[in-house]
């Protein structure tokens, strides 16, 4: 079975210029869509989309998902499929890059296929804080 191609697109955030395009404000919504292009029918149990953060670096990984949903159940037919998602970011934590700890926010899409490695894609974005 050919591996389906996955693409994650985020809806525009509060900033549209240059490097700030991928920034979102803590406490605000984050939405977008997952596109899956299947060249042949995909026998899967479903498509799962999650939004959350995890840590990277020297320490063991901590992670939390603020949203996890099954956006599609059952087999995926041939063609392009689009699954929208939306979640409300919590007030914290914000994205952080340090020497031993990195906090990474991401949208992850996974196709749940039995007895196979699940195709997946992660799209990183940055969460920054609003002003009081």
């Amino acid at each position: 079975m050919a591996t389906p191609a996955i693409e994650i697109e985020l809806d525009p955030g509060p900033w549209t210029e240059g490097e700030w395009v991928d920034y979102r404000l803590a406490g605000s919504p984050v939405s977008g869509r997952v596109r899956i292009r299947a060249l042949e029918p995909v026998r899967c149990r479903g498509v799962i989309v999650s939004v959350g953060w995890h840590t990277e670096g020297r320490g063991d990984t901590d992670r939390a998902a603020i949203f996890e949903g099954i956006v599609h159940q059952g087999e995926l037919p041939v063609g392009e499929h689009e699954f929208p998602f939306a979640a409300h970011l919590p007030d914290n934590p914000m994205s952080y890059t340090g020497k031993y700890i990195k906090i990474v926010w991401e949208v992850a899409a996974r196709i749940d296929i039995a007895m196979r490695v699940d195709p997946h894609l992660e799209r990183t974005f940055f969460v920054t804080l609003p002003w009081q």
């Binding site: 406490g27 063991d60 603020i66 409300h88 914290n92 952080y96 340090g98």
Partner: protein, 426 residues
């Protein structure tokens, strides 16, 4: 018959909050454990007493200093076991709640085990029925901390007694991460996402900082030093007097060195504490925001007339990462941002006139807020180091909380900052 006492908790108002004295549970389990502990402790003290007796018989009036050295650590362990057992049997739980901290104490008279938990570190307060048939009808209160760990606050008591305490404590804790996260997840399933204003963060002015719970570790070091030195010096004396050779002497020297270092560390801490009370540090507002200026006031009280060289203040943003390496758990720390100030140079303090100093700081606008997870933490710490000439210095670390919010300054910077990995400025 339920295994909990019939008396309600005592409620005593304190200067900044309230103290709950929970009723003592009457139960076979506590008594049984206590009796076993007492028997263990007494049993641990019997051999050294026998050795002392035999040594005194062999050399009447002289005692035998080797026997004494041998006996000290075992007697110490036995006495500690007996004291802990009596506390388990007859001790009571005290919960003191003020505007910043929950102080949980369990003890008997002056012997108390305590744990200090900042209210900002409490994720959830749970009141649940006690598991187990013997205690049916009773309840437990447990706390879940920001790092996910749970520990019991009170167990096996009437739910009507525990409910007011749990509700009082929950009302004093600021809004937690988990509540916001759960509501966000629930909202995500409920339909279109509507932007909403950030949650209000409740702040308090002129907050006195309290040290972290780990500040009492020196007592553990003291116990370790007594036991380690007692055993290792006894063995060393036997080796030296029996002229066992170079290798055994070198081997035991390592243990003696560890014992001396432990003793020196304990002695230094005790000497430092003999002259000073813990400094009282007040900050103008808590929690702080990124980019916010604040004032900290340090009041250093002395137990006797003492002149100091200076008080070093250090504001630290520290990353702590914990990982497993084989069977070991290792924690590494990195000070991502620091700022230092020297105050009160050449000042003198006595019991009636403490040293007072003020300093203004500013949390860097591109910094990181306080973050706690199970294995990774980012903390803000204010270190107060009192430099005393020709005497061990006195150091204390006080945790600060920096909330996930930016202070509205004269100009709003671009986003990024801590997310980009650039070094914090300010």
């Amino acid at each position: 018959m339920p295994d909990f006492a019939a008396q309600p908790p005592q409620i005593k108002p304190t200067a900044r909050g309230v103290e709950y004295v929970l009723p003592q549970r009457v139960g076979g389990a506590r008594l049984g454990c206590g009796v076993i502990g007492i028997l263990f402790g007494c049993g641990f003290m019997v051999p050294p007493l026998m050795v002392l007796g035999m040594a005194n018989q062999a050399q009447p009036g002289q005692g035998g200093w080797m026997a004494v050295l041998f006996a000290i650590p075992f007697l110490a362990v036995g006495l500690i076991a007996v004291c802990i057992s009596l506390t388990v049997m007859f001790g009571r739980t005290y919960a003191t709640i003020d505007d910043q901290v929950l102080l949980l104490q369990f003890g008997l008279g002056p012997l108390r085990f305590w744990r200090r938990v900042p209210l900002t570190n409490i994720k959830a307060v749970m009141l649940a029925p006690t598991a187990g048939k013997r205690l049916s009808g009773s309840a437990d209160v447990s706390l879940t901390l920001a790092d996910g760990k749970t520990f019991p606050m009170a167990q096996g008591l009437a739910p009507d007694y525990l409910r007011p305490i749990a509700e009082d404590l929950a009302a004093r804790c600021p809004l937690t991460l988990d509540d916001r996260t759960r509501r966000a997840a629930a909202d995500a399933d409920a339909g279109p996402i509507v932007p909403r204003p950030p949650a209000t963060i409740f702040r308090r002015e002129n907050v006195v900082l309290t040290p972290a719970a780990s500040s009492g570790n020196w007592l553990g070091l003291l116990i370790f030093a007594v036991i380690w030195n007692g055993i290792s010096w006894t063995i060393a004396v036997v080796i030296f007097t029996q002229e066992a050779g170079v290798c055994p002497i070198l081997f035991i020297s390592l243990f003696l060195l560890v014992g001396l270092l432990a003793a020196a560390g304990t002695a230094a801490k005790m000497l430092a504490m003999s002259r000073f009370h813990p400094p009282v540090v007040t900050v103008s507002v808590q929690p702080l925001f990124l980019g916010e200026p604040f004032i900290c006031q340090v009041v250093q009280r002395a137990k006797k007339l003492v002149q100091i060289d200076r008080i070093n203040l250090k504001l630290i943003c520290r990353e702590s990462a914990t990982y497993r390496s084989g069977t070991n758990t290792v924690t590494v720390n990195h000070d991502a941002w620091t700022a230092e100030a020297i105050v009160a140079e050449g000042a003198t303090a006595d019991p009636l006139r403490p040293i007072e100093a003020l300093h203004e700081w500013r949390i860097p606008p591109d910094g990181m807020h306080t973050f706690h997870a199970a294995r990774n933490k980012i903390e803000w710490i204010l270190r107060v180091h009192t430099d005393v000439p020709r005497w061990p210095d006195y150091t204390i670390d006080l945790p600060l909380v920096v909330a996930p919010r930016r202070h509205a300054g004269p100009s709003q910077p671009q986003p990024g900052g801590a997310a980009t990995g650039k070094e914090m400025t300010g």
